[in-house]
Symmetry: C2
């Protein structure tokens, strides 16, 4: 029984007939893991074989805890960018110190993820709103693309910021290295073609729809093999920058250099990487689970991603997460369970043992093209337009995060985005919507006088407050209340409809006391209606209910009935305390 609980949930219920599907999916997604692993390791400033190592044990570790049926965990472009951005101020890219720091960074972010899973802190991911994530990913994609242009075109270009680098690239374009450029641009063009038109072409040529899509997705591996063939055949290995020797053999466990100062410096970047890993992976897994009608265990995902990053740290140091593109391929190829991921990882073993020599002739420009095309697909123009239309403040938060990433880098960009999200939240709640309402004739319902044909009473003013009352908005509420009383000078009874008020904090309570007192001096009674249970509980601990000049009504309709007829003596149902 106890031993049984150590076996992952999905494995306990595994059915034999799933094996073929999972194996097919593993073969297909494994074909993507190789070029992406090499490319993203280079992007992170690490030796290419680290990308292959990160595609082996971490995938198995994820499957031990994770529950998503088809999410493909492994190296990811945005995380690689964050790695290089966090580490390059600390050590020269590619130096032993750099690689050591990458190990610590990945381990730390894995530990953060695992701890978040243990303590069930999945809710931390709510710190990031979708617009901020979209803005961040789009900004990171732009940085990645500009960063890869020199490698793609064979030009020299330096520059602190993306725009300076882009200018340098354009300036030096006439000195571009022609063979590099031809290889790179051709690869990029074929990849773009195969993303956009190839599925349709294959479909028209008679391939089943699913196969057509899959075929197009496998283009990166095909191009990698073609490029290696061409370099070998045309003897271009001296002419082009190539991957170079990749050590054959399985990864060995790296003993991390736990240096207190380094750990301290990497805490914040590791936390940000952990948060992004979780948010990105979870949104992929959730979308998938929804499509398949499965339920996802967020804390299990956290443990899985944590284990994956801890093992990735110990086997080389490239952060891993759920990858959008590989997950799509994995799902389309028919993955039924995390076993597909495990099998894809096992495929990495023969690659590492026997095929590393093959990849040494791979031109870097081909990897740059793969990175660029993958990054370009991360742009979310439609999401931006949608956000801008639906909610201007969301659009602005997205734009600011995007620009922040471009101008100040990934860390500042994401901090800006989170700050903006919360500033928006606070700003909105400090400008509450307040409506003068009247009764819809013939019903018991009260609606905004500006939007509906409603009946109002001259002496009774109904105000609906559409926000909880807090220190940050009580002044605005008071101002509005006084200006409405000025507009309705005959008012003798003011009814505040608190149907939307879920909390009243101490500051707001004090001010309500004051308002009640002021209105008494003006011979206006203050009533409350539709007070929610929790609010009433709280209010009954204060003196407001005692001092209130008016009454508390179950509904606005009852309030109107009572106040219009002045039936002070009639028993009216009030909210039980």
């Amino acid at each position: 029984m106890r031993a049984n609980r150590l076996i992952p949930f999905w494995l306990r219920n595994y059915r034999r007939q799933w094996l073929l599907s999972d194996l097919t999916a593993a073969l297909v997604s494994g074909m993507l893991l190789v070029p992406q692993g090499l490319a993203y390791a280079l992007l992170a400033g690490l030796p290419p074989h680290v990308g292959l190592y990160a595609s082996l044990i971490p995938l198995i570790a994820y499957a031990a805890f994770g529950s998503s049926s088809a999410m493909s965990v492994g190296p990811a472009a945005v995380l690689s960018l964050m790695t290089v951005s966090a580490l390059s101020p600390l050590a020269a890219i590619g130096s032993p110190e750099y690689i050591g720091a990458a190990v610590v960074l990945t381990l730390l972010s894995g530990l953060f993820l695992f701890a978040m899973g243990l303590f069930k802190l999945g809710a931390l991911s709510n710190l990031l709103s979708h617009p901020v994530i979209n803005g961040f990913v789009s900004g990171a994609a732009a940085l990645i693309i500009v960063g890869q242009l020199p490698a793609l075109l064979g030009v020299e270009a330096d520059g602190e910021t993306a725009s300076v680098k882009l200018l340098h690239v354009l300036e030096h374009l006439p000195q571009a290295h022609l063979p590099t450029m031809v290889f790179g641009v051709a690869t990029a063009a074929i990849l773009i073609f195969s993303r956009i038109w190839l599925p349709m072409l294959l479909f028209r040529l008679g391939a089943p729809k699913q196969l057509a899509r899959l075929g197009a997705r496998l283009m990166p591996m095909l191009l990698v093999l073609c490029a290696i063939g061409l370099v070998h055949w045309l003897a271009l290995s001296d002419e082009l920058d190539i991957v170079g020797d990749i050590p054959a053999g399985l990864p060995e466990i790296v003993i991390p250099d736990w240096n207190g100062h380094l750990v301290f410096q990497l805490l914040l970047p590791a936390l940000i990487i952990a948060l992004l890993t979780f948010v990105e992976s979870l949104s992929i897994a959730q979308a998938l689970a929804a499509r398949r009608g499965e339920r996802l265990n967020a804390d299990g995902e956290l443990l899985g991603l944590g284990a994956a990053n801890i093992t990735s740290g110990l086997s080389g140091g490239l952060p891993v997460a759920g990858s959008f593109s590989r997950t799509a391929v994995n799902a389309e190829a028919g993955a039924v369970s995390p076993l597909a991921g495990v099998l894809a990882a096992l495929l990495m073993i023969p690659v590492l043992l026997y095929l590393t020599g093959l990849f040494s002739d791979l031109p870097l420009t081909v990897l740059a093209a793969i990175i660029i095309v993958a990054a370009a697909s991360l742009f979310d123009f439609r999401g931006f337009i949608h956000n801008w239309r639906y909610d201007r403040t969301d659009g602005i938060a997205m734009l600011c995060t995007f620009i922040g990433v471009l101008l100040f880098g990934v860390e500042v960009g994401i901090a800006l985005g989170i700050g903006l999200s919360f500033a928006t939240l606070i700003w909105r709640s400090s400008r509450p919507h307040i409506a003068v309402v009247g009764r819809v004739p013939g019903t018991e319902h009260f609606r905004n006088v500006l939007r509906h044909d409603v009946e109002t009473q001259e002496e009774i003013l109904f105000l609906r407050i559409d926000e909880s009352l807090f220190f940050s908005n009580i002044s605005a509420v008071e101002d509005r209340l006084l200006s409405e009383l000025k507009r309705h000078p005959a008012t003798r009874e003011l009814v505040l409809i608190l149907s939307s008020v879920s909390r009243i904090d101490g500051t707001a309570l004090e001010r309500l006391h004051q308002i009640n007192k002021d209105l008494r001096n003006r011979n206006i009674r203050l009533h409350l209606s539709e007070v929610k249970g929790p609010v009433l509980d709280r209010l009954s601990r204060s003196k407001l209910l005692e001092k209130l000049t008016g009454r508390i009504f179950l509904s606005s309709y009852i309030a109107e009935l009572a106040l219009r007829h002045g039936d002070e003596g009639e028993p009216i149902p009030e909210e039980p305390a």
Copy 2:
């Protein structure tokens, strides 16, 4: 006409019969201004005469814009503490650099206040919740008291933090300077007595109630004069630390030393001082206006306080604000208009011209006693107990601010408080209250099933969401929704009651789409009821309304009627778009 607009509002409508009242009030509050000015200038680390200068032109400048009928503007204990805390890291207390920096600090905070008035940014004061202000003021009061103990008791005591200083004082108590201690403790004892028992005593002796209270309030000035007399008569001026020479004559305009680096260093402290000045002064003025049934113009107050601090900066550099104690005295003495403040300021002219010699023999321990007793009255125990009972989070914010001020000083303390206020706001809105509701039998009202005897339907689940939907809480809402569906497995129709939802942001909208899709797969229809106008406007810009499996109902009652009878064809009043 135009010239008329330059004359302050209160002066245009001034009635001659008010003059006597205002003059009386001016005489009385002027009697308080002298000792408080001297004391708070010393507290701020400035020469005592600066406190008198700050009680002259700034009061007139305030009256040119301000509208409060009896608020007494002038030096204030908390601001003096903030001044010394901001400036002492930059220059030695009392040095010319220190005094120059005080000028710049006061000017800057005046400029901030004036600019906030011009741009109508009075709402900025909403950054500070009452509990945070209470905690801050109480903490500052404790710092002030501990800081004045050495001067009061005539002991030497250093120490970075308040607790260390207090320990030093206690340690060195046996070496206290006896005459200083006698003067100081006696003054403090008489002041405390005159605050608590003297009004009652005078009243019992036959004085009218108001006069009795006023008499007690004038005790500081009386004690100052007695102390000066005693020092003179007993020739104690060599024995005791005394105020020393005060230059006679009116203040001259100080040319501030605008040094870019200094200005930059003082920006943040000046902003905090400006915010606190405004919040403190406004709450005093508001309380007063409420009692007198007057309306206050917050932007005018900002301009007035700004002008007061700009002129105070130019005439010496002690920040000024509305003072709680002096305002109470001013109001009790019958002040009817800001003219009382102007007249009190004019009284400062003969003091500065002819009476400065008188105050040179004033023992510092007497001023320390005045400061300590004034600071002690700033403690707000009752407010703390009240906050703690009414709203635990408010109580915690107050306590943390208080402790923060004590341990880390005024700036860190207030930053902590503001941060905590907002963290609370965010934390609360990320844990929305959600209730399963049912219909109160015989009515159209829906109430929480846990609190009321209500009717529910097996196939229809009504959930009321008591918070706007945001990125920070949509996960919590989704989790609750799924767990309620698990608890009510027969549910075929889910009605979300959005009566409390004032906004749905982009992240929440996306998730609602997803929830709608997931529920469709489970054969559950999703309906919305009581959607507010602004929310519906926003939603109609998205595709949710198209894709919604269920409908939008004007009220939950209509929803129940329609869904229970399955009257799909019947015309049901829906919310107009």
